[in-house]
């Protein structure tokens, strides 16, 4: 990174990306397009078998006699599968051709630790062991690739207060947005000198460059530069957006409402990461899982509807995944323990609807868990191709086998 910034550079950086506006169509990448990817991560290990239900497989109900109650009111998808009763909006999107399911996503040698499996998905390396300061995530590397081609703020985290590993890049510092009203540089407005102070603080941020070779100092200066540039952009861009969907007043509803605002406003975001926690349903799973999927369905349904109404759904893809699925057999606490492969959802523009790939065989388990039929890196590769980001630069190699887009 070049740290020889002046305040004018900071402000120019804030203005570097052309405005999409109502016309859509950001076209600053040579031969590229303005497709955006939202990765929605269900933290804790979502029970895939009670999310996309293999309704016709007697072994499913036999392995989880209490949990199989969810078949009542499930939304049939055809092909012997149905969605959990709480997923009404997603089921509608599946039928309308705006959502797809990929069966059996996972990786070889599945790890049952939340933290390690989450990191494996984040880093996109099944052999990943422990994160260091140099470890990067796949969305962070994709943000690096886009930034090297002129994108100003290609990546964005929403709703968390720490940078998730998945957004850790080599050179780009990805901003994380919690609440819009906090994402601005406050000054002592009471004195009537607010603008003056803001300008002066910007001068200090631009001027206080760390000495060469100071890696941590360089990181801190880059965070500050990203923050002030982003805050300036938000001030300019976000005023015009009005939501065209009713977002539920839930944690995920608030996060996705904020995300929609950013995606629609031409902030330049191409890669976003957002989480919903609580899926570690070891005990008394039925009511807890129902509430979580209801929250997911309400918020995701609103996001898809809002983007659609703003004409932005066609260029947006949403991936919904978890760090692993859960054990096929229910445990003795009416819950499920950590498992392995699970289905993922892919919603939005250009997706070929329906179920993709082969569902794992309930008669061929690995220590009680489903065997993956789709390497998640092939899924990532398909999404990167959709974004026209070099998959080899991000994943280190080609990963074929998933063909999601028409």
């Amino acid at each position: 990174m070049n740290f020889a910034l002046t305040r004018r550079d900071l402000l120019r950086r804030a203005a570097a990306v052309p405005l999409a506006g109502a016309a859509g169509g950001l076209r600053w990448l040579p031969g590229g397009d303005d497709a955006a990817l939202v990765v929605l991560e269900l933290e804790g290990g979502n029970d895939g078998l009670n999310t996309v239900i293999p309704l016709d497989d007697a072994r499913w109900a036999a392995a989880r006699p209490q949990l199989a109650q969810v078949r009542n009111g499930a939304h049939a998808l055809g092909g012997g599968f149905a969605l959990h009763p709480a997923l009404a909006a997603l089921a509608r999107r599946c039928r309308d051709g705006q959502a797809a399911i990929v069966h059996g996503a996972g990786y070889p040698g599945p790890d049952r630790s939340h933290f390690r499996s989450r990191d494996i998905w984040h880093v996109a390396d099944p052999a990943h062991v422990a994160a260091t300061a140099a470890t990067t995530g796949w969305l962070g590397r994709a943000a690096d690739w886009l930034a090297a081609r002129g994108a100003a703020v290609p990546g964005l985290g929403v709703g968390s207060d720490q940078l998730p590993l998945v957004l850790q890049g080599r050179s780009v510092v990805v901003p994380v947005l919690q609440r819009l009203q906090d994402y601005q540089l406050l000054t002592d407005a009471a004195e009537g000198k607010g603008a003056l102070r803001r300008e002066a603080v910007l001068e200090v941020v631009a001027g206080a460059r760390p000495p060469a070779g100071d890696a941590l100092g360089a990181f801190l200066a880059e965070v500050a530069a990203t923050a002030v540039a982003g805050a300036e952009r938000l001030r300019e861009r976000l005023a015009a957006y009005r939501p065209r969907a009713q977002y539920p007043d839930t944690e995920l509803g608030r996060k996705l409402a904020l995300l929609a605002r950013v995606l629609v406003s031409g902030f330049g975001t191409r890669l976003a990461h957002v989480t919903l926690g609580g899926f570690d349903t070891h005990a008394r799973q039925l009511p807890a899982h129902d509430a979580l999927l209801r929250q997911l369905d309400g918020a995701l349904g609103a996001l898809l509807g809002d983007l659609d109404a703003h004409g932005a759904l066609g260029r947006t893809v949403v991936l919904v995944h978890s760090e692993f699925g859960r054990r096929v057999a229910q445990n003795k606490s009416q819950g499920t323990d950590h498992g392995a492969a699970a289905p993922v959802f892919v919603c939005g523009g250009g997706v070929k609807p329906g179920c993709h790939g082969r569902a794992p065989d309930l008669g061929d388990l690995d220590q009680g868990d489903l065997r993956a039929t789709c390497d998640f890196r092939a899924l990532y590769a398909a999404l990167l191709r959709r974004l026209r980001v070099d998959e080899v630069a991000v994943l280190g190699a080609r990963h074929d086998g998933v063909d999601l887009f028409a």
Binding site: D161, Q162, L163, L186, E203, L216, G217, L220, S333
Partner: protein, 294 residues
């Protein structure tokens, strides 16, 4: 820990492995230093470790008193004995030493430093307090390699801003500010704890920190800083002296040449004049990269 790791449902005949697994993986050994069989057997030893409201309760009727084999040792172990066996593993000393070094000294400790601290811990009869006291008085702790080698956490930042000035402010407000920046006291985001270091700082939390500084030094937001910025900087006369004093107070006078130049320019400018000028100057110091290190 009992609640968070579901040990309340860990009963004889219905073991729940969560507590035993995370004791090994996250808190005492690290991955690769135990087997799945160790987890299963240790989980049985923790059966009956339950809760009664907010208090620990040993439910003897739910405890599995049978024989277990953990780390090659066999016996009718209870939870305390598993903890003792775990911390006696040689990997445990290294695992803890690495964590302490990464928390207090340098984010990437050298193997020799880890080894030395692990040995000191064992020589101190695995007394954590005595070991940390030795670490925090060591030459390593005061070395150039350790100096400001990490990103300050939210509590370091908000408490440091007040204490380095020798001032006082409402602790409840400071705790709320730190919580907004990602560190709610006693409430880590997951059982793994906070990632710490660079993960503390995003563009959003940077803005929250600098905005906190604006409010703290403007006397808004209920922080009630005493003494006020004017009084703190009253001894300095020229803009350069004021900038240097602000750096001295908040950053022990250690800042890059570029940072000092930028701050002196700020002190000479219109934003640093008048009634709110001293607060503005302190606000600007906390926007420097140096202010976010420890």
């Amino acid at each position: 820990m009992v609640r968070w790791l579901d040990n309340d449902t860990n009963r004889k005949g219905r073991p729940n492995e969560n507590f035993a697994r995370e004791l090994f993986e996250l808190f005492a050994l690290g991955r690769g230093h135990y087997t799945e069989a160790d987890v299963r057997e240790a989980a049985r030893a923790f059966t009956g470790w339950h809760l009664d409201g907010e208090c620990f309760r040993f439910a003897a009727g739910q405890h599995d008193g049978g024989a277990k084999t953990v780390f090659g040792h066999a016996g009718a172990f209870g939870g305390e004995q598993i903890v003792a066996l775990t911390v006696q593993r040689p990997e445990s000393a290294r695992f803890l030493a690495r964590k302490w070094l990464a928390a207090f000294v340098h984010p990437e400790p050298e193997p020799a430093e880890v080894e030395a601290l692990a040995r000191a811990y064992e020589a101190n009869d695995r007394d954590v307090g005595r070991t940390l006291a030795a670490l925090l008085r060591s030459r390593l702790f005061f070395s150039a390699r350790a100096f400001r080698s990490m990103v300050a956490g939210p509590l370091d930042f908000v408490v440091g801003a007040v204490r380095s000035l020798g001032a006082r402010a409402a602790p409840v407000r400071l705790a709320a500010a730190a919580a907004a920046m990602g560190q709610a006291l006693g409430e880590p985001p997951s059982v793994e704890g906070w990632r710490g270091d660079r993960a503390w700082l995003t563009s959003a939390t940077w803005l929250l920190r600098v905005n906190f500084a604006a409010e703290l030094f403007a006397g808004r937001g209920g922080y009630a800083l005493a003494p006020a910025p004017d009084a703190l900087l009253a001894d300095a006369r020229t803009p350069d002296e004021r900038a240097d004093l602000a750096l001295e107070l908040l950053l022990d006078g250690v800042a890059s040449d570029a940072a000092r130049r930028a701050l002196r320019a700020f002190a000479a400018g219109p934003a640093a004049q008048g009634r709110s000028g001293a607060g503005a100057l302190l606000h600007a110091v906390l926007s420097l990269p140096e202010a976010h290190r420890r």
